[in-house]
Symmetry: C2
Subunit: 247 residues, 2 copies
């Protein structure tokens, strides 16, 4: 790929996992409202994702957008997720379509479906013998208003895919941690995503051919209750990590 | 039911269909940003649904809310649906929970799923021999940004149902017309909702026991590609009209 890949929210944790694995694989254009710490692996635009003009400018000449920017706090208040996550994501899709971008990879979240984890299902569903429950075809059941905003971002992606020539992959990111899975936290182990699997998953989402997809972004954990079959099928995702290996 | 039923967007078309059939069945509290024309069948509050204080005040002593208010235009611009439909609906749910309301009936729309009507499926899917395609378990595929906002309202309802003691029924309203179905418009005939079936459907949504439901609000049309089985099952909906009887 010769065109730059635009990464919004580049300074966040997911951005750092992606760049940690793929800094040299692409020409990056990085956007974040916080200026870079250290030497960024590409042109760096300091701008808020709700700054439509800045987003449009950052989109010039880009074929692929990885859209991570937004308020990442599960407990974020409504006003913030309405502005930063819902409106901000609409601004990114709209600018992408107008700039002729081919695909947008959208950082959705396990919090879009966290309320499937009902009292009568947990903690059994977090355990290896539990059934895989969710495959990405289910309706959202958000844990919180942050999750509502992520579900809205997925629906916006569906709209822009259906009405414009734009491939969209929504990645419901699990529990991303560096080095080792969460300790003494069954839910986090079930939805663990290692840094290297994260970088690989987004690498596949940049390269593979697809239409509109919702995939779960987790490692190949024994405990998982999210299916990774769709990510394998449509993206060629081949995770190498499993939280059980750290028990 | 002794407590008043709050009807937001009371002056709109759906509100008029509901009140036309049910004016004498309940004690109504009506809210609309436009003042009433004629003599309203209940206390009338002139307020915008985005006016949080007015909405909270209107919610006092209410057991059931029928939330219709919002920008009803399929072609409404994003800024309007973001504010009036998404944020406005969040304000209504939040106020309902805080006021101890038992249930919210939310006016969703066929536009939340309009993009299932792809070129290769239409116009066959609008015809009596077509398969019933959608039953309310499918992910949204909005026709437009208005449809995106309605899907977001459904997801907000799911969140408030899961996290609070609130029953929520989302009605994906079809093509509501008075007297007779649309003429020379197959899609409109397939999703026709007569005024009396509309009033009956909302009557059932006020009275029946349920949790979180998504139902299609259409008459028993021969042409239908939306299932009304779930509305029959959970609400006891028994439509009396069928657009085919007007052919």
């Amino acid at each position: 790929m010769d065109d730059p890949v635009l990464l919004t929210g580049a300074a966040g944790r997911v951005g750092q996992a992606i760049l940690g694995g793929l800094a040299d694989e692409y020409e990056w254009r990085l956007l974040d409202r916080d200026p870079p710490t250290g030497d960024p692996p590409g042109e760096f635009v300091v701008a808020d994702v709700t700054d439509e003009e800045a987003v449009r400018e950052a989109m010039e000449g880009v074929s692929v957008v990885i859209h991570l920017a937004g308020d990442p706090r599960p407990e974020a208040p409504w006003d913030s997720v309405l502005t930063n996550n819902i409106d901000g994501t609409k601004i990114v899709y709209e600018a992408a379509v107008d700039a002729g971008v081919d695909r947008v990879v959208f950082a959705s979240s396990n919090h879009a479906v966290g309320a499937y984890e009902t009292d009568d299902r947990t903690p059994e569903m977090y355990r290896p013998q539990g059934d895989v429950l969710l495959d990405g075809t289910e309706l959202p059941r958000p844990s919180n208003l942050y999750g509502v905003s992520k579900a809205a971002g997925e629906t916006l992606g569906r709209y822009y895919h259906d009405h414009h020539d734009l491939s969209v992959c929504c990645v419901r990111i699990g529990n991303l941690t560096e080095d080792h899975p969460p300790i003494d936290y069954e839910r986090g182990q079930a939805m663990w995503l290692s840094y290297r699997d994260c970088a690989h998953l987004f690498d596949r989402a940049i390269r593979a051919d697809y239409g509109y997809e919702i995939v779960y972004g987790i490692s190949d954990n024994d405990r998982k209750y999210y299916s990774i079959e769709h990510a394998r099928d449509v993206l060629g995702y081949e995770p190498r990590d499993n939280s059980a290996e750290f028990d």
